[in-house]
Symmetry: none
DNA sequence: GCTCGCTGTAACACACTTGTCACATGAGCG
DNA sequence: CGCTCATGTGACAAGTGTGTTACAGCGAGC
C-alpha cells in the first residue's frame, strides 16, 4: 500500500510580535496547515529559501528590514519568487497597501483582523495559485491547442476527447509550462486539497493523457524523482 | 483588441454619503469610466436594471435596505444577476465581509480605502469578467432559428413550442455558444440565482429541450463532469 | 370546483471515469 | 554488471455523472 498521508501545506508567518505569531500559527494549524515562523526580515528570507513554504504571511512592520523590502527580495529570489504572499498591515495604511500589491504581495489583511478571515485568505490564495494571473484561456503549442472555456483540446486540428480530470491536469501543466510540478502539487491543484489520494494516481492520469495526445505527448516531460513538466519552447 | 474607439464602461456607485460618492465618482471618471450613482438601495436596484452598468460599487451600510440585501436582490434579477459587484465595508466588519463574498459580491474594499486602490479593483474585476457577451436577439444556426424578442424558435421552419424556462435556457446557451456552461452558472443565469434548486433540474430541462428540438438537439453538447455547451461552428 | 401544463425532484439504469493494484520496464548508480 | 527504485503499463472494481422515466405540487384558465 503506497497510499501516503497528504503533505500538509507549509505557511511561513513573519511578525515581530510573539503574540501575533502565536495567534496566527494556532489558527492556521487548526485549519490543517504546517506553520513555521520568523521574527525579522533576515531570518524570514532565509527560512523562505530553505523551507520553500507554500505561502507567506508577512507583517508590514518589521524591525531593521521592513516588510515591503522583504517582499521585494522574496520576489527577486528565483526559489521564492512565485510564493504567494499575504501582507499584514496596521489599519489606515492605504498607500502602503497598494504599493504592497504592486510590489508583488498577492493579498493583504488589515489589523486588527479576525483569524478566520486570515485563514480564509490563505486558502483562497493557495487556490488561486492554480490559475496564474493572466491565465491564458487559449493556448497554442505547435500542433497542440488548448481552449479552456470551450473545454476543447485539438492535436493537428483533430479534436481530442479528454475527461474532466485529464483536461484539468493538462491545463495546469500547460499554464505552468517550463516549471516542474511535483505530484503533490498537482494533486493539490488538480484534485483540490482535501483528497487523500495516492501520488501514483497522477502517473496513471498522465499516462492516459499521453496516450490520448498521441504525437503531442512529447510536450509532457517526466523529471525523474521530482515530477512532471510541460515542455517550454 | 480592435482599434475602434471603445465605449466607456459604466459604473454604478451606491453610497449614502454624498462625499463618498463624489470621491469615488471623481476617481473613476479620471480613470475613463462613466459613472452613475444612487444613494439608497431602492434606487440602486432601479438604476441597475435600467442602465445595465458594467460593474457596481456598493456600500455595505445603507439606510433602509442594507447593502447585503441589495446584493442579493441584484443577483436574483436576471438583468443584473451577472454584473460584477464590489462591496465597500467599514473596517472591522469581518464577518459581513465574508458573508458578502458568499452572497455573490465579487470583491470588496475596506473603508477607509484609497481611491487608487478602488479603481484598481474595478479594473481588475472588469478584466476578469472578460469577453463581451454576444447577446444578439436573433440567432440562426443552420436549421435552428432563435428570435429572442418574439420568443420564437423554429427548426426547419417549423415552429417549436418551448416553455419559458426552456426558452431561456436555450438562449443563454446560444448566446454563450462555444463556451461550456456549468450547471451552477446556468442556475444562476436562467433561474436567477435560486441556489435552492438542485443542479439535476438543469439536466431535466435540457433533456426536454433536446426532445422538443428534435434534429437540432445535436447543437447541445454534454461535457461530462463540467456542464453543457451550445456547439460552435 | 376541476383540469391541464409547467416545474422541480426522485429513482433507476447504464456507461464512463477514476483510483488502485500488480507487474513490467528502464534509468541511475555503485 | 547487477541492484534498486521510480515510472510506465494494463487490468479491474467501485464510484460517479448523466439520460431517462415517473410523479407530485402548483398555479392558470375554464
Amino acid at each position: 500500500m503506497s497510499s501516503e498521508l497528504r503533505v500538509k501545506q507549509k505557511i511561513l508567518v513573519v511578525d515581530d510580535e510573539p503574540d501575533a505569531v502565536e495567534l496566527i500559527a494556532f489558527n492556521l494549524k487548526a485549519a490543517g496547515f504546517e506553520v513555521i515562523s520568523a521574527m525579522d526580515g533576515e531570518s524570514a528570507l532565509r527560512r523562505a529559501r530553505q523551507e520553500s513554504p507554500d505561502a507567506i504571511v508577512l507583517d508590514l512592520m518589521l524591525p531593521e528590514v521592513d516588510g515591503l523590502e522583504v517582499c521585494k527580495m522574496l520576489r527577486r529570489n528565483s526559489t521564492t519568487a512565485s510564493v504567494p504572499i499575504i501582507m499584514l498591515t496596521a489599519k489606515a495604511e492605504e498607500v502602503d497597501r497598494i504599493i504592497g500589491l504592486e510590489l508583488g504581495a498577492d493579498d493583504y489583511v488589515t489589523k486588527p483582523f479576525s483569524p478566520r478571515e486570515l485563514v480564509l485568505r490563505v486558502k483562497n490564495l493557495l487556490k488561486r495559485q492554480g490559475a496564474p494571473e493572466g491565465d491564458a484561456d487559449r493556448m497554442e503549442f505547435g500542433e497542440l491547442l488548448i481552449d479552456v472555456p470551450r473545454h476543447l483540446v485539438t492535436v493537428k486540428d483533430r479534436s481530442v476527447d479528454l475527461t474532466a480530470t485529464e483536461f484539468k491536469l493538462l491545463t495546469v501543466l500547460a499554464q505552468r509550462r517550463g516549471r516542474v510540478q511535483s505530484r503533490e502539487r498537482l494533486l493539490r491543484d488538480v484534485w483540490n486539497y482535501d483528497s487523500l489520494i495516492d501520488t501514483r494516481t497522477v502517473d496513471t492520469h498522465l499516462r492516459r493523457l499521453r496516450e490520448k495526445l498521441g504525437p503531442a505527448a512529447r510536450m509532457l516531460d517526466t523529471v525523474r524523482g521530482v515530477g512532471y513538466r510541460f515542455r517550454d519552447s
